[in-house]
């Protein structure tokens, strides 16, 4: 559940403007910011037991997968801005401790990642709110299903675009009580980025994302991962 400062203003913009969907031919976007990326459709049930078609946008160059519901323009644009992290499969979506874009069953997420064609057993970085909030949640289950390392944040994540590519990838709790509705992080309650091993057990935490520091990428843990592969 990434928080975006421009989310509130986008709501009324969507009332006033209706842009056409991106043109897709042979499963690939033909032009626009997502040109060349692969579109894959998957389904989930909504609160009225209706099937909702969701979209996975796959960037084969940056090894990045963006999971959205139709109309989630802000989340999609934030995902497009992300450059991915070399050495990782980068997954950008809404999440809770037990779900990733509505998928509770880790085997579903694993099936989607496998069928994307861009995953070659490398570690997975989930950039999605609370995906690593519990030791035995969706990140742990995904590590077990894919038998690889998975890194995810323990709190809400905050991506501030500031006109260009997202700067910072902070994991902070929301403000307490009614203030939680405001699009502002509680800087006094930072989260961490937790990593699970292929057996689904948590093995490390870092204060910032591997995207921002490369801690895991350059550290001894990454060397061990490379040796195992």
């Amino acid at each position: 559940m990434s928080q975006h400062p421009d989310r509130i203003s986008m709501a009324w913009k969507q009332w006033l403007t209706k842009e056409p969907a991106e043109p897709v031919e042979n499963g690939r976007i033909q032009y626009g910011p997502g040109k060349g990326m692969i579109k894959q459709v998957f389904e989930g049930l909504d609160a009225s037991q209706k099937m909702v078609r969701k979209i996975a946008t796959i960037d084969p160059i940056r090894k990045k997968i963006i999971l959205i519901q139709p109309r989630e323009k802000v989340l999609y644009q934030s995902g497009l801005r992300e450059k991915g992290v070399p050495g990782y499969l980068y997954v950008f979506a809404h999440a809770t401790a037990t779900t990733l874009q509505g998928m509770n069953r880790a085997e579903r997420v694993a099936a989607l990642i496998r069928s994307s064609g861009v995953w070659n057993t490398e570690p997975v970085l989930i950039d999605a709110c609370n995906a690593g909030a519990t030791f035995d949640g969706i990140a742990s289950a995904l590590a077990t299903a894919l038998r690889t390392h998975v890194t995810a944040p323990t709190t809400t994540t905050w991506n501030y675009p500031l006109g260009g590519s997202a700067v910072g990838q902070g994991a902070f709790e929301k403000l307490p009580g009614i203030l939680a509705a405001l699009p502002m992080p509680d800087l006094f309650r930072p989260g961490v980025w937790r990593t699970w091993g292929p057996d689904g057990q948590p093995i490390a935490t870092t204060p910032t994302s591997p995207r921002d520091t490369g801690d895991l990428l350059k550290g001894t843990l990454m060397q061990k991962i490379r040796q195992r592969r």
Binding site: M1, A11, W12, Q40, V41, F42, E43, G44, L45, D46, A47, S48, Q49, M51, V52, Q69, R71, H94, A95, T96, A97, T98, T99, G102, M103, N104, R105, A106, E107, R108, A111, L112, S115, C129, N130, A133, T134, D136, I138, A141, T144, A145, A181, G200
Partner: protein, 234 residues
């Protein structure tokens, strides 16, 4: 009010203007929450839509109970979400009521032990044969869920009423991992399901309230299944 405007001090005017702006924003937020209700999901429920969802869940609407629980699973403490999901699981009547949270919570959350989930699914499958796919998936669950059982999983394959390309791929991975011997009857049942998938590839099944795989079958899926099936031949 306009008559009094000039008499008020700057502080009063600022308070009044800020109050009006806040009031207008709140009104807009409520109206927007009602109008955009069909676009909201567990990550964005708010305002009017959230209240309505909670009321539906309290009235016993199964899909609303799952959705409200999913919404609460983003808010600590997570026990509230578990309680709604537990209620929804026990109230399940159809295959679509058997949501994936049951697998995700299996042997992790109190009330969601493997035996309880299994008996719920077996109860539902009596009246909703499409739920055999959910049982098939459940018997392939990974640890810490103790439901994993390839004999039971194999027994579900002849009962499937839909193309199960993704779960069959999962089954083949488990078979290879566990070096499990697949019987001739199960191989025939897999063959039958692959043929069903081929038909669905030509003509998609109609949308309906039935359990099905979460991604449509692709030609590559069928080629992979045929290859995996051929590798099983004794």
């Amino acid at each position: 009010m306009i008559r009094h405007w000039k008499r008020w001090g700057a502080g009063t005017k600022i308070v009044l203007v800020v109050s009006l702006v806040l009031g207008a924003w709140t009104a807009w937020w409520w109206i927007d929450s009602a109008v955009t209700c069909d676009q909201q999901d567990e990550y964005s429920y708010h305002g009017f839509c959230l209240i309505e969802l909670r009321q539906r869940a309290e009235r016993g609407d199964n899909s609303a109970q799952w959705a409200y629980g999913n919404y609460l699973s983003g808010i600590r403490p997570f026990e509230q979400a578990h309680q709604w999901h537990l209620k929804a699981m026990h109230g399940a009547r159809t295959g679509l009521d058997l949501r994936d949270s049951m697998d995700a919570y299996c042997d992790k959350v109190p009330g969601f032990d493997a035996r309880t989930i299994e008996s719920t699914m077996q109860r539902v499958v009596q009246t909703s044969p499409d739920a055999h796919l959910r049982l098939f998936q459940f018997y392939l669950s990974l640890p810490p869920c103790s439901a994993f059982n390839l004999d039971q999983a194999s027994a579900q394959i002849p009962q499937l009423t839909q193309c199960a390309h993704l779960t069959l791929a999962e089954y083949f991975r488990a078979v290879n991992r566990e070096r499990y011997t697949v019987s001739a009857a199960t191989r025939a049942a897999i063959q039958g399901n692959v043929e069903r998938c081929e038909k669905e590839l030509v003509q998609s099944p109609p949308d309906g309230p039935h359990v099905r795989e979460f991604m449509p079958v692709q030609p590559q899926d069928i080629a992979d299944l045929r290859r995996s099936l051929a590798a099983l031949q004794p």
